[in-house]
Symmetry: C2
Subunit: 357 residues, 2 copies
C-alpha cells in the first residue's frame, strides 16, 4: 500500500513549471496566472500530491498544530478537556499534538521539550508548575497557555476553574437551606483544586456567624469518601450537612450512610463538586457544583490561538497584565435531591447523548 511519495518536484516536472510556481499555485498566492493555477491543481490532484508536513513546517515556520501536554489521559476530566480543545481546534483548523507521558517531573519536562519545532503553541496542565524554574527551564520558546495549573509566580496566561468561589457558593447554599453545622470531606493536600475548595469552605464558614465547620480528610476517591462518611457518623454530634470536595467522595459517603441506615436528605444533607455524569443517577440525585471542563479547554485554546495570530507581544507585557491574564471560570450550582429543599430527583430520566460511533 505504500506508494512512492510524490513531491512538489514531481508536480512541477509534470506540470512543466518551477517548484516555486507549484508552491504558489497550491497555496493560493495571488501572483499566479489563473490558467497556470488550474493546470497545477489538476496535475497535483491527478498525482495525488499532498505536501510534506515537516518540510512545509520547517520552511514556513508554522505547523498549524498546537501541542497539548497533560499529566494523564485517564478519566473524565481529560476526555472533556480534549473534547473542548478539539472542538475549537476544528473550528480554527488546527491539529492537536497530544503528548503522552507518565506523570513524573522528568517525563513531563521531556514531553515539553519535544514539542519544539512541532507545534505553534502549547496548552499545558502541569502539576510541577509551582516548582520554581520548572516551566522556565523546560518550556520551548513558544506561546503557552496554562490550564488548571498553579504557578508559583504568574508568568504565563492561565485558565482555571474557580474552585474557591465554587466552594463558597456551595457552603452558602447549604447555609441558606438552614444547615448550620457542616462537615467537609477535603481532597488531597497536595492537590491545588482541593486546597482551593478547602480555602473556600473555611472562608465561607468563617464569614457566617453561627455556622460551624468540621473537616475530614479524603483523597478524591470513593473509598476515602466512604471512610469519611463512617467517621462522620461515628463522631459525637452529627452535622446537618456534608460537603464532599468532589462527587466521587460524595458517592462513597452516600454509600456509607446507606449502609448505616442514615437517610439522605431526611437525616443529613450531602453535596459534592464536579457534577460527574453519575451525580444525577444516584439515589438521591446529588446536589453539586458543575464545572465545565470542555469550556475550560476551549477557552484556553482560543486565547492561545489569538496570541499566536497576533504575534509575540507578550515579551513586553507588564506584570499587571500578566496577572490580569489569569482567567477563572465559575462553577455553577446544580441543585438536586441530596440536600432537601426544592431539588428534584432526576434519576428516572436518562441522558440524551448518543455514545455510539
Amino acid at each position: 500500500m505504500d506508494r512512492q511519495p510524490v513531491t512538489i518536484r514531481d508536480v512541477a516536472r509534470e506540470a512543466g513549471v518551477s517548484v516555486a510556481t507549484v508552491s504558489r499555485a497550491l497555496n493560493g498566492h495571488a501572483n499566479v496566472a489563473e490558467g497556470v493555477r488550474r493546470h497545477v491543481q489538476e496535475v497535483a490532484q491527478r498525482l495525488r500530491y499532498s505536501p510534506h508536513g515537516a518540510a512545509r513546517s520547517l520552511s514556513s515556520r508554522s505547523t498549524q498544530t498546537i501541542g497539548v501536554v497533560l499529566p494523564d489521559l485517564h478519566g473524565e476530566f481529560f476526555s472533556e478537556l480534549i473534547r473542548g480543545i478539539g472542538a475549537v481546534a476544528r473550528a480554527r483548523r488546527r491539529h492537536m499534538l497530544l503528548s503522552s507521558y507518565h506523570g513524573d517531573r522528568e517525563q513531563q519536562a521531556a514531553a515539553l521539550r519535544a514539542m519544539r519545532g512541532r507545534v505553534d503553541g502549547l496548552l499545558v496542565m502541569s502539576p510541577f508548575a509551582d516548582q520554581p524554574g520548572f516551566l522556565e527551564e523546560n518550556l520551548p520558546p513558544l506561546p503557552t497557555v496554562l490550564v488548571n495549573t498553579h504557578q508559583a509566580e504568574p508568568a504565563w496566561p492561565a485558565f482555571e476553574i474557580d474552585n474557591h468561589a465554587g466552594a463558597v457558593s456551595m457552603v452558602e447554599h447549604l447555609l441558606g437551606l438552614g444547615h448550620r453545622n457542616i462537615a467537609l470531606i477535603a481532597g488531597p493536600e497536595h492537590n491545588y483544586d482541593a486546597r482551593e475548595r478547602l480555602r473556600g469552605f473555611r472562608e465561607a464558614i468563617a464569614a457566617h456567624p453561627g455556622a460551624e465547620g468540621r473537616e475530614y480528610p479524603g483523597d478524591f476517591d470513593e473509598a476515602s469518601g466512604h471512610r469519611a462518611g463512617q467517621a462522620i457518623l461515628a463522631a459525637g454530634e452529627r452535622p446537618q450537612a456534608v460537603f464532599a470536595a468532589n462527587d466521587m467522595m460524595a458517592l462513597g459517603c452516600l454509600y456509607a450512610f446507606a449502609q448505616a441506615g442514615v437517610r439522605v436528605p431526611q437525616d443529613i444533607a450531602l453535596a459534592g463538586f464536579d457534577d460527574i455524569p453519575l451525580a444525577r443517577f444516584v439515589h438521591p440525585s446529588l446536589t453539586t457544583m458543575r464545572v465545565s471542563i470542555a469550556q475550560l479547554g476551549g477557552r484556553a485554546l482560543e486565547r492561545l490561538l489569538d496570541q499566536i495570530e497576533t504575534g509575540p507581544d507578550s515579551a513586553t507585557q507588564a506584570d499587571a497584565e500578566i496577572e490580569a491574564d489569569r482567567q477563572v471560570l465559575a462553577p455553577e450550582l446544580v441543585v438536586r435531591a441530596s440536600c432537601g429543599g426544592h431539588g428534584d430527583d432526576a434519576s428516572a430520566s436518562v441522558p440524551r447523548e448518543n455514545t455510539q460511533a
Copy 2:
C-alpha cells in the same frame, strides 16, 4: 517569554565542535569520544537546546508520531479509544497527532492527506471506507491500521469489535434463561456496528428451533429506545425478553417500561450492548455485552507500530494474509439484574476510578 530559539549550530559553536558531532553526541551514536559527548551534553543543557522537530523529521524521515483520524471526539467511545491508544503510545514513546474534522467525506479526506510528512503511521476510523476508492485516494503513503471500520474490499489491517458474535452470545444467554420470544431493538441501518448486531441476532434466533424474534427500529439513542419500548408493549403478544442493540436504547426502553408499570426483570427481561458506565447504576442494573474500546485502540496501535518497525513488507502481502489481518475482539457478556436469573444488582456500589486531576 519567547526566547531566541537555539539551534544545533549554536551548540556546535559553543562546544567547539561540528554540528555533525553534536548530532551524533546527542543522539547516542557510538562513534563519539566519551569526553566530547559529555561536553556537548553539558553545553546543550546549559543552552537549553532541544532539537527542532520538523527539521529532525525531515532529515531523518521519522517523526516518532502516529496520526489518529477519528470522525468525532465526542462521547465515551472516542475518549476510551484515545485513552487506549495513549497508553500504548506512552509505553512505546510515540506522540499522537489528533486530527479534528467535522465528519463529512471531504473533511476526512483533507484530514487524512494533511497527515503526510507529519506522522510515521496512521490509525483511522472512517465511515467512508466502504465507498470504493475513498481510502486509496486519500490515505498518504504510510502504514495504516483501521479501527472499527468497514472496508468494501479488505486492503488494510483492521481491528474491530466482533458485534456479530456479541449479539449471538446475548441471544444465547437469553435463550438459556428460558426466554423463547425475543424482541430486538435495532440500531440505525447505515451503521456497521448496528448491522452486525442485527445479523447476529437473526442468525442466533434462526439457529434455535422454537425461538422467535421480532425487530423494532431504533437509532442508538435513548429516545428511540423509549419509543421502541412503548411499541413493544402496544403490540399483541408480549415478548419474554428485549435485546436492545445498545445500552442507551435499553435505558430508554427501561424508562418506557417503568412508566407503564411493567417490571424488569419480573415481567420482562431486558438486555443491552456496550456496557456503558451507567449500565450498572440503573435499576435494575443492566445485563449487557462489554466492549473494551480502550483495548481495541491499544491493540490497533501495537499492530501499527510493529508494522512501522519491521518496515514495509505489506507491499508483498498476499490477499489471504490481508484477510487474516482483520482482528476481531470479542465482547464479554456481563450478567446483571435486568434479565433475572443469577445476575446481581451492583447499583449499591460505586465505581473506583478517581476522576480528578
